[in-house]
Subunit: 494 residues, 2 copies
Amino acid sequence: MSLPESKDFSYLYSDETKARKPSPLKTCIHLFSDPNIIFLGGGLPLSDYFPWEDLEVNSPMPPFKNGIGAPIEGDNAMQSHITKLQKMHEGDIPLARSLQYGLSQGQPELLNFLRDHTRMIHDMHYADWDVLATAGNTNAWESTLRVFCNRGDVILAEAHSFSSSLAAAQAQGIITFPVPIDADGIIPEKLEAILDNWTEGTPKPKLIYTIPTGQNPTGTSLADERKHEIYRIAQKHDFIIVEDEPYYFLQMEKYVRDKAVRQKQADNAKLQHDEFLASLARTFLSIDTEGRVIRLDSFSKVLAPGTRLGWITASKKLLKPYLSLHEMTIQAPSGFSQSLISGLLNRWGQKGYLDWLLGLRHEYTLKRDNAIDALYDFVPQTKTFTINPPIAGMFFTVNIDAAAHPQFKTVYNSDPAAVEQHLYEEVVKSGVLVVPGAWFITEGDTTPTQPASSKENNAPNEIFFRGTYAAVSPEKLREGLKRLGEMLQKEFSA
Amino acid sequence: MSLPESKDFSYLYSDETKARKPSPLKTCIHLFSDPNIIFLGGGLPLSDYFPWEDLEVNSPMPPFKNGIGAPIEGDNAMQSHITKLQKMHEGDIPLARSLQYGLSQGQPELLNFLRDHTRMIHDMHYADWDVLATAGNTNAWESTLRVFCNRGDVILAEAHSFSSSLAAAQAQGIITFPVPIDADGIIPEKLEAILDNWTEGTPKPKLIYTIPTGQNPTGTSLADERKHEIYRIAQKHDFIIVEDEPYYFLQMEKYVRDKAVRQKQADNAKLQHDEFLASLARTFLSIDTEGRVIRLDSFSKVLAPGTRLGWITASKKLLKPYLSLHEMTIQAPSGFSQSLISGLLNRWGQKGYLDWLLGLRHEYTLKRDNAIDALYDFVPQTKTFTINPPIAGMFFTVNIDAAAHPQFKTVYNSDPAAVEQHLYEEVVKSGVLVVPGAWFITEGDTTPTQPASSKENNAPNEIFFRGTYAAVSPEKLREGLKRLGEMLQKEFSA
């Protein structure tokens, strides 16, 4: 059975996208490799003068049986040799090509790996999808705003979301509209109510921006059944879904406080590849039947942030304006990044990469468990504080009822934000840095289109702090959370 | 004598720049390296899990006495070892840092090299200048448009200019206004006349975009004395000068047809470093007393395009909005590119890098001479065709009086553009690709602000084709130009 083609959503494009003409030079660049044509067309320097002959690279070797951070020696050592002119492995991108102009979509060896990976992870329901290499999800999201949005357009986002993503939109004059969330992410009924009651005559949202897995900053994950509901609402109100998924492969088992049970789980957690794949959250991409979903993936959290390499998966139609934009911005991700990542992943193979992702899951599970244990050990066990152990990502939150602060009314004028700011200053003084929730509020009250329902807040005095268990060692993490807990204890005792 | 501070040009910023709020997360990232603070602030993955332990790199070794393309062996071989945690050379950037988040301005070891390089090449007349790493000049130029321009703003550009740069502006709704050029670049008198007669009530240009050295597509270079004049006009009419200088280090001696004289010149051309530095064109940066110049440099033409690494030199004030923008777009250039380039350049040292640039100059001089020799040998020596041997860059042009085509009136209705299109098709058929000048026209007639003077054209039927001598071997280049010459001969004989 052949799959249907994606729908045409070009009517949602920005004025900029509609006005963008491809550079005429791109119409002739394919002649560079035509043996019958002597190419005097474009300013391509000879690779003879690229001053890197080859790179010898030491990396860990699947199946990483002593863990992904184990010393690179013995049977955990893999050496790659990336050269200027030759392929030492069929998945290599010779430096003469990766360091040259051209191929803005990405180098074929890397794209082919990502296409195979996509087929393994997602359940694609339309035929004409593809991938496009990016300089990471920050770049991909900013490009998304340029591709779709004009000044004055509205986009939807989780009520607390990644501050840089929101700031990028706001600088462009795009109005960010908050959607209520709970411990399972966006609440579909509230989303639908907002859209059903949208003020007539004001622009309807062109897209929703969501971080479904291990959401930043709340650490929550969007429940699978809600994704189906949200997709239905997106069809009903005709907007694009942008799923920003840097933490997708940091999914774990649920946190269990009982260490004996946990140990049992950990033994089970040595998943086979098929069990691992089956355990992953369903993606919007896997629900999409029309090419309405744009997925942003990144190597930042699974390999390294400074690779500045990620990819977009979407319909070929929707990838076209990204390609035209990128030809005028990044041109392409770094050739070194492409050669080194393609060399690594193609040597590992899809199976070796799954081994790596399983190893990562194991490390993050230990980190998460260590963090949540410490929170339960050091944060006072009262109704004032709520701990929501995450099932994915790098972040946890400590939610606090600011009204329980002894000086809530007297010193802070019943303003939870003032308590939050005070606690932030105290926590830094105590020698640990966690980030106040106020830094992540999706501002939406600048627009007259905002119906009252989105302002609704069941816990008006709730504040929270976001922490990460990614950045430091287990010992430091525990010590940091001890300091946090002691500060909270001191502050909230009468 | 201490230098003055730069002026404040923030009144020229775009609405987007004015609205851009820094991400609050950036206010705490410096605490990551504070030993007294346990950092649970940002989602920074541990470098233990970056799957690249080290890179061993083979590169050529200064002084490149057998040429910059010589085999990397014997005393022309330099091996660098870039590791995850250690500096094997003081100029190295360990991968644990370059592959981590942070340092959007660029890694210090690389920036320090570029600052020293700047002091050597330019004559800075104000104190608070700095450099900022970019993902190449395409990225830097597009960022410049975002930093300064709103929809409907006007910018000036050479009457023929790099099509991708123009297209980037036009897609953003920015009006590109052509400035007449001749064999020495922008004509200051014409520029001044345009601005003195600017239609009242229409927005005046915020900036001029110029490629002073080895201009793309015309291959011309802007004369030094004209730069002083243009700077004066920029002060008078208060606009920014953006000098896009990817070809700056592809400067050469003037072309000499007589091979004996040329050989003598070539012997002289083995310049000492101080002679080489003295021979370089004066830059707008060296004229700038106010911080009105933004210079875009790139490693694309001197090392390799796929490094996607360049830098902006400007006042610290003007670099700030670029940094804020880049934190929401590229974040930083690839860490691999930064580590590999910093490792290479700091091992070479400033002197070794000058050796490399001298070597490059030598190669391009040979290429240019070979190209111009072939043009004189194969293009009919009549008044119909003009050859302007370039003194810099990668490009040459063949200018053609389209009215001399035997079918100019009969078949082509006296339309030079129709002749150009026909010749383009014929030249590709003949097996060589050169690019028609029409692809590079700076469109300006969409705005009512355009005074008639800029439309002035002393040679209304002149068309041209741009070729490059960069991309192919000398033999292929000569064969390609033979095909071009034969085609022109055939087309223009009655």
